[in-house]
């Protein structure tokens, strides 16, 4: 199981080594969020973040957002692999479906980490007071991997239900923004209207952001609860996506 998950991650690393364009183009959007949205909202002080500068508050949120954006369309790859016969070939290897899905999920995580490096470097340049504790950085790696694993499994689950690239694109577009705005990535839960608080409460992205904020800039969060929620969410995602994987090749 572990060897197979590693094999899928190795493939993802090899692909990134051959073609880095995606890493660069994907860095543009979070950079805009930090530079334009972040700098502007720092200036007008519209969002109460206590003694934490808004840009510091925002950086972990944008990190979580960019992993969400990478993961939520990851199911397209599965559909492409179905169309190209790759998926059938993988399913005829002695690899349990859950191992295949877990492998894909963590391969997406590897891609997210490459993204995370870009965003963290930019944040540091903009003067965000990031932690220097290596243990906390290790925690960031774990949280980013788990968050990406969950959202990519959500995407693969939708792929197994929608069965086509176009439908998956549509559904992905439709849920990305609600997931993002319905979380604490841009503003604290405290200033949300009651109904949005409920959404934020069941949104795994909020737990990812909370954990990243705690680890990166030291805002006290609920680290244990956050990680527990992300593990449970990722496990549920892997279960759902593996159950639907066979449907794609029928």
């Amino acid at each position: 199981m572990l060897a197979r998950v590693a094999a899928m991650c190795v493939v993802e690393l090899q692909k990134m080594r051959h073609d880095r364009t995606e890493i660069y183009t994907r860095a543009i959007q979070p950079a805009l969020w930090l530079l334009i949205f972040g700098e502007t909202f720092s200036r007008i002080r519209a969002i109460p973040t206590g003694r934490v500068p808004y840009l510091d508050y925002l950086a972990p949120g944008i990190l979580a957002q960019s992993t969400l954006f990478i993961a939520i369309f990851y199911g397209i790859q599965i559909i492409w692999e179905r169309d190209a016969g790759v998926l059938a070939k993988l399913l005829v290897t002695p690899t349990p479906r859950a191992a295949l899905v877990t492998g894909k999920a963590f391969a997406a995580g590897v891609r997210s980490l490459a993204q995370a490096v870009a965003i963290m470097v930019l944040s540091a340049v903009l003067g965000v007071a990031l932690t220097v504790n290596p243990l906390r950085w290790l925690g960031v790696v774990v949280v980013v991997m788990l968050g990406t694993a969950f959202f990519s499994c959500l995407s693969m689950t939708i792929a197994g239900l929608a069965m086509s690239r176009d439908r998956l694109m549509g559904i992905g577009q439709a849920i990305t923004m609600p997931l993002f705005f319905g979380s604490n990535a841009l503003y604290p839960v405290g200033i949300m209207p009651e109904w949005l608080r409920v959404i934020s409460h069941v949104n795994p992205l909020s737990y990812e952001v909370d954990a990243l904020r705690d680890l990166l800039i030291g805002t006290p969060g609920h680290l244990l609860l956050d990680v527990a929620v992300l593990i449970v969410a990722a496990a549920a995602g892997i279960t759902a996506a593996s159950a639907l994987l066979g449907r794609l090749v029928r």
Partner: protein, 274 residues
């Protein structure tokens, strides 16, 4: 029946009463098959005859129910992983990952089949040169020609040293030179390892030349079975395989569109070869 099979009870594949429908569309309608160990067995038929569905039932991609499939005596429904371990599989599409190099494509399958780390490099090298891609191994597959991609996929399927190689239309879309190249490699490996080969094709000439035994499939059923020589002499002296095929399937216009076009193009090929 076949002179290649050696002992009669040693079967690579046994199918009994296979049936599969997609919605109301019956793709496989009661197929019985015995593939002897070590032979090259061809499933021949037009598009839509049920060849690919039969392959998917044997490779565990579709549940073999109702009916039964055994691969080397193992029930496919109960020993899925053991069966997959014994199989090397080439799907119909060109399915190598274009974003990876040839070597990386093969390495992935070496890992997925648990080729031990110490043997991996050597094993990957071995199959890459067996399919004639040693020099191109470090180029990305997107720079390969169709024939090279097919041979790369062959290397992916062979890296686990399978006892049964299953090829679904291995030469579809390839020019004659590339087709011969693919078949040469398959036959070389088979001679060296005694591996069983199960292949689907709608190229009659290819089946005639390379298969020990052939099952003619049409409308989800096996219409005729035997060596190419037996099938031909069974019809009339000097008959071509294509004529045998027409005799069993009929050559009517009520074929589903694709199937008819297909029969016509293969007839041209068979005609050309005399």
């Amino acid at each position: 029946m076949s002179d290649e099979s050696g002992s009669v009870d040693r079967h690579a594949v046994v199918c009994r009463g296979l049936r599969h429908a997609f919605g109301g569309n019956v793709a496989v309608d009661g197929v019985d098959l015995d593939v002897a160990e070590g032979e090259v067995f061809g499933l021949l038929g037009p598009n839509g005859a049920g060849k690919t569905t039969t392959i998917r039932l044997i490779t565990t991609l579709l549940p073999a129910k109702p009916g039964m499939v055994e691969v080397f005596g193992l029930d496919v429904a109960r020993h899925r992983m053991a069966v997959r371990r014994a199989i090397g599989y080439l799907p119909q599409q060109l399915s190598a990952d274009a974003a990876l190099t040839g070597r990386e494509n093969v390495e992935l399958f070496a890992r997925l089949f648990d080729v031990p780390r110490r043997q991996r490099r050597e094993r990957v090298e071995e199959v890459l040169s067996a399919v004639g891609l040693a020099d191109a191994a470090d180029r990305r597959a997107q720079t390969y020609s169709g024939g090279m991609i097919r041979r790369l996929e062959l290397a992916q399927a062979l890296v686990s040293a399978p006892r049964l190689l299953i090829l679904d239309e291995p030469t579809i879309g390839l020019d004659p030179v590339a087709r011969d190249g693919v078949w040469e490699r398959i036959q070389e490996v088979r001679r060296a390892t005694g591996m069983t080969v199960l292949v689907t094709t709608h190229h009659m000439d290819e089946a005639d030349q390379h298969c020990g035994r052939i099952a003619l499939m049409h409308r989800g059923r096996v219409q005729a079975l035997g060596t190419p020589a037996d099938l031909k002499s069974g019809l009339e002296p000097g008959a071509t395989l294509e004529e045998v095929f027409r005799a069993y399937t009929g050559d009517r216009l009520d074929e589903p569109g694709d199937g008819f076009r297909d029969t016509r193009s293969t007839r041209r090929t068979a005609g050309r070869l005399g």
